[in-house]
Amino acid sequence: MDLVANNLSYKPDDQYHLNEVSFNFKEGNLYTILGRTLSGKTTLLKTIAGLLTPDSGEIEFDGKNFLKVPVWERNVAMVYQQFINYPHLNVFENIAFPLKQRKIDQSIIKEKVMDALKSVGLLGYENRKIQELSGGQQQRVSLARSLVKNAKILLLDEPLVNLDYKLREQLREEFKNLFSKGLADETILIYSTTDPRETMELNGEVIVLDEGKVLQVGPAKEIFENPNSLKVAEISNDPPMNIIEAKISDNQIRFEGIDVEAPQHLSKLTEDGLKIGLRSSDIELNENGHEFEVELAEISGSETLLHLKRGDTKIIVSIEEVLNFKIHDKVKINFKINRAYAFHANGKLASSPFGGLNG
């Protein structure tokens, strides 16, 4: 039972929330929608759920026109980024709600709810009021509520975004377990996120969305290794990939008075307006490197993010340790240039170290 969309467009104001979005989701698979905030992720999920009607385009599920099916008859479940539950019901009643909408035996409901509670680790909480739970627990309740009905389509709209760091790590781990345990083979799982790391960890098919448009579709590894454009490279990396305007001639990459020997996959690109892309983790501190000036140094967790500047070129370097820098300090860095990407002036990928569009 495939979920197929053709040219979905939705434009409630002067901006496209969805712009000619098409996809073909197959059962038993995990799809990750990766995009920045306001890229149309939530709109897309709501359209699939039936909470929004697109201006044009079609959705078919199981060969039937899905847009003609009212929300409550579509067999979908959804977890929102805000923890949405029923404030007037306790935990058990919350999770039982979707089951009670169908004619199901009380004893079966009880069994299913208990199963769901167990799988999200909330056994023993069934008589609590929703307001008595923490944010993470509330999100578990809504996850359990979405699991309990065995929906054919399970939509998770940035389910971790409103949780604190620790809970997020923990729940993400549990999600991975839940998903890999094989949510019934016939489920289509659609997970939206802004976080590239989450996307890579979930390791499903990725749809990169920006301004309502699909930019690239492919397995997580492929998106990471061969982003087809500058935009995708920015969206699928955190911090975003460094983009350096450079010129390649005589087998040298030249920018800001620096000459770096071009690796083989870049050496033949001699056009004007070329942009070199390099991940922040592919730059390292090195005594014999090129001198840059520190603009800002942020420490995030066990990592230091250095914002550096030389001439008009600004780059971000991530270092796997906590280091103290002052603004205007001079640092010397080296580029792992054989990991560099090249993009044409129009933003399309020119060459990637993993073999995309060589030369």
Binding site: W72, N75, A77, I84, H88, F97, Q101, R145
Partner: protein
């Protein structure tokens, strides 16, 4: 905090409270133990004679009380149902939403006494427009002079006058509800009807209880409508407690007896409203 002048600052509020609440109640109790009437205007002491008369020798009071209970419960239920329906209607995005929201409030903005005079004209048996229209079908109900129909006329006027108040409270309640549970309910497979039963209605329970209690208190004071519309008639068939107490006290000047009725009425109202509030809370909030 120990501040020796604190009672001085408490005094203005206390003075008003004593003047308008505590003194009148105490005075009514004292009055109810007297035989104050137009022949004998004075605070003499006759013990519980008034109460004994009320409980053993005055079926008219109890009839008016049960009539009042019937009228107030019926009107409040109707007001709640109609008010909820109207509020629910303009809660959703419909055309001319603002227009309807204002339109439904119009009856509340009118002066009740004047509107009742207009209703009385409407329902006049031979001259009123209602019977004029109904004459097409060859019927002419005695809106104001039939003992049974007159009760319903009172109900119609009361419901018309006060449904907007219920509408206003319930609309405010609906607008203050979180949107999220409704999104969840749709996805969880609840059709619009089930969504109303399982989400909207339970979420509205606390507001409903408040609105119903406020209206019950107001409705049990039905007086002006009855006074203008039927004057309690025909006979005593639309006479309510407050109207009967008014007749005894301010028409026949049996002040002592009216005071004993007022006090008894107050006690009954406090007890019954407390019970109703408890029951509503139990039924609607399941607590």
């Amino acid at each position: 905090m120990n501040f020796k002048h604190k009672y001085f600052f408490l005094f203005p509020g206390l003075f008003v409270l004593i003047g308008i609440l505590i003194f009148p109640i105490i005075f009514v109790v004292r009055l109810s133990l007297s035989g104050w009437n137009s022949y004998n205007p004075g605070l003499d002491y006759i013990g519980l004679e008034n109460y004994i008369r009320l409980f053993t020798d005055d079926p008219r009071f109890w009839e008016s009380f049960f009539r009042l209970s019937f009228l107030s419960v019926t009107t409040v239920i109707l007001q709640y149902v109609i008010g909820f329906a109207l509020a629910h209607m303009v809660w959703k995005d419909i055309k001319f939403k603002r227009f309807f929201r204002v339109l439904f409030l119009v009856p509340m903005m009118t002066t009740p006494v004047i509107m009742t005079v207009i209703w009385r004209t409407f329902f006049h048996e031979s001259l009123g427009p209602v019977n004029d229209l109904l004459s097409v079908f060859g019927v002419a109900p005695k809106w104001l002079t039939d003992p049974v129909i007159a009760k319903f006329t009172v109900i119609i006027v009361e419901v018309w006058q006060w449904t907007p108040f219920m509408f206003l409270l319930l609309l405010a309640g609906l607008l203050s509800l979180p949107k999220e549970p409704f999104l969840a309910a749709a996805i969880d497979g609840a059709s619009p009807v089930r969504k109303f039963i399982y989400v909207t209605f339970p979420l509205m329970a606390p507001i409903s209880i408040g609105a119903i209690i406020i209206r019950l208190i107001e409705a049990s004071k039905i007086m002006d409508t009855v006074y203008v519309l039927t004057s309690g008639g025909p006979g005593t068939s639309t006479e309510t407690s407050s109207f009967y107490i008014f007749i005894k006290g301010l028409r026949e000047f049996q002040m002592g007896y009216a005071a004993s009725m007022s006090f008894t009425y107050l006690i009954i109202m406090i007890i019954s409203l407390t019970i109703i509030a408890k029951v509503l809370t139990k039924v609607l909030l399941k607590e």
